[in-house]
Symmetry: C2
Subunit: 336 residues, 2 copies
């Protein structure tokens, strides 16, 4: 069945389609009574404006793109839920594009979004922001980066305060009395890893603790990358009594390995994560971690986008604090 168009309504209402358009958009340029009559008729006929057609003339699609590496990543899914929520509240629909860190796919997405004439773009956890530069420079499509690389090359970004968050985590361990605190990071040169490592060192320095290179290991930001690192830590002459992990998934992997060594958490070994995924509440004991306000980050990115889309020129680079959530995986070390 064909959609009823504005002309069908016009015919039924015995006016021009221009008048129908005005009536439906509540233009003051049309007589209140006829306007109401037209609206009635349109409603009865089940008329729905064609946003495609409208977009063609208004040059506005009311659509934004969300580019992510992997929507199945729980961190990203939470961010996107924030993005979607605020976007919808502001009248925007969101196109979701998974890129899996595949450059081909990412390039295709950039082109596609350009061809679809999206009003704006949000990029989550990207390492290849440079790909979006053409869009930004040639077509001045507003782009807001969330927790992505090189935010400074872009004008608008929302970032977690990695340094501050990890410093707080390590300070927490220091206050509990731990002297040998390990850092279990990533290995792919992520800026977030570098920064969290930076926060770790900063906290040590502030407490006048020595930095011990052997207490630093590199996982893969996933659960299965933690094992070898923990093994190595425990074989040290003076093993650490606590580890601060790059993220929650790494921490979960650390849990398993610690248990497999017959140690208890937190009595024998304290663990701190980063992100506060929902899984952090489910470990046994629940994980002490640094919470990233994931939904909020998504919402803020859209808020920035909306401001830009309504003409703001403001340059917005937001750095949000992480919140240390103290749960059961940390305590004072047993016997020093």
């Amino acid at each position: 069945m064909k959609q009823v168009s504005i002309k069908d309504v016009a015919r039924a209402a015995q006016v021009t389609h221009a008048t129908v358009s005005r009536a439906l958009r509540n233009s003051p340029l049309v007589n209140a009574v006829t306007a109401e009559r037209i609206r009635q008729i349109a409603a009865t006929m089940g008329y729905r404006p064609d946003l495609i057609a409208r977009g063609l003339v208004t040059r506005k699609t009311w659509a934004i793109g969300a580019v992510v590496t992997n929507i199945a990543d729980p961190f990203i899914a939470e961010v996107i839920s924030g993005v979607e929520e605020l976007a919808m509240d502001n009248g925007y629909s969101v196109f979701l594009a998974n890129c899996n860190a595949d450059p081909d796919r990412e390039l295709r997405v950039v082109r596609l979004f350009q061809e679809r004439r999206l009003d704006g773009i949000v990029v989550v956890s990207s390492r290849v922001g440079a790909l979006y530069m053409p869009l930004l420079s040639q077509h001045k499509v507003p782009i807001v980066l969330i927790n992505s690389h090189h935010p400074d090359e872009f004008v608008h970004s929302v970032m977690i305060d990695n340094i501050g968050g990890s410093a707080a985590a390590v300070q927490h361990l220091i206050q509990l009395g731990h002297r040998r605190i390990a850092y279990l990071g990533d290995q792919y040169g992520l800026q977030s890893d570098t920064d969290r490592f930076g926060g770790y060192r900063q906290a040590l320095a502030m407490a006048d603790y020595p930095f011990v290179p052997e207490l630093v290991a590199h996982g893969n930001a996933k659960s299965d990358g933690a094992g070898p690192a923990i093994d190595r830590f425990l074989k040290l002459e003076k093993p650490p009594t606590a580890v601060f992990c790059y993220n929650d998934l790494t921490a979960v992997g650390a849990f398993r390995k610690i248990y497999s060594h017959g140690l208890r958490i937190p009595e024998d070994f304290s663990i701190v994560g980063f992100d506060d995924l929902s899984i952090a509440s489910y470990t046994e004991p629940p994980l002490t971690t640094v919470r990233q306000p994931k939904q909020l980050m998504g919402r803020m990115a859209v808020e920035i986008l909306c401001k830009l889309l309504s003409g703001s020129q403001e340059k917005t680079q937001i750095r949000l604090p992480g919140e240390l959530i103290i749960r059961g995986s940390t305590s004072s070390p047993r016997c020093q």
Copy 2:
């Protein structure tokens, strides 16, 4: 900077924009040499076709909608990653709409998708499929339901075999030697809960086990809903030695409660879940559960959609088997 349009290219190539259109679409109706020349020029000028304009005339948007209750739900996020992947591979972009089981929002989405002239819609885990009926009947927009209520009212659906999956789970417990097996379900009348309960009863019946009403409790499909149910089970004169849970989150809640009673898993108590979220691998011990092929389900839905969009009239209702994944949370009961 204004986008370069087909007319700009035409001017530069000294042909009409119709010819440019043909050349760019590789129409045989244009001289190979000029076609190539035009393509060159278009490329140099950085021309990108306007999909909005094209869509207006072709009546095809190459966009599909994905309606979900909550993208932050890990189950849904996985399904969507499958949807997005296959959609993109077939040239479709996907609009994501979160509805949070909010009817207002859901109604808005239906209207919006109609106005955006989407080519098709995928609905995940919806309870209110009825809302989409107008779209389906009036505008014959293809709709494929994934794990949603009342799939039979719709022509196309992808469902997990809840009955078979849960029967397999319970059979597994029976084979391990458990005699008193509890079912910890949901309480909101979800069809999936009814079906999983059905599979539970079916497995008991096949083993000639009695059905014991006191071994059935109702959680809330989330982690925090399991506690009271487990408490009640353990207070029974003859408590169960194993519990089959409606889903993994419920199972995780059961874990915590079992541990808080000082019992061991699986030595003292076996637990089985349903879904196989990534969290199922992270519990201690890892959770035995029924895997839903989440990504596959998403991909299959899009595959159906694509067939429909290329003219197929076939009615497709797929029921996928779940796979029992045996991990560490189940074993034979200690002492009967």
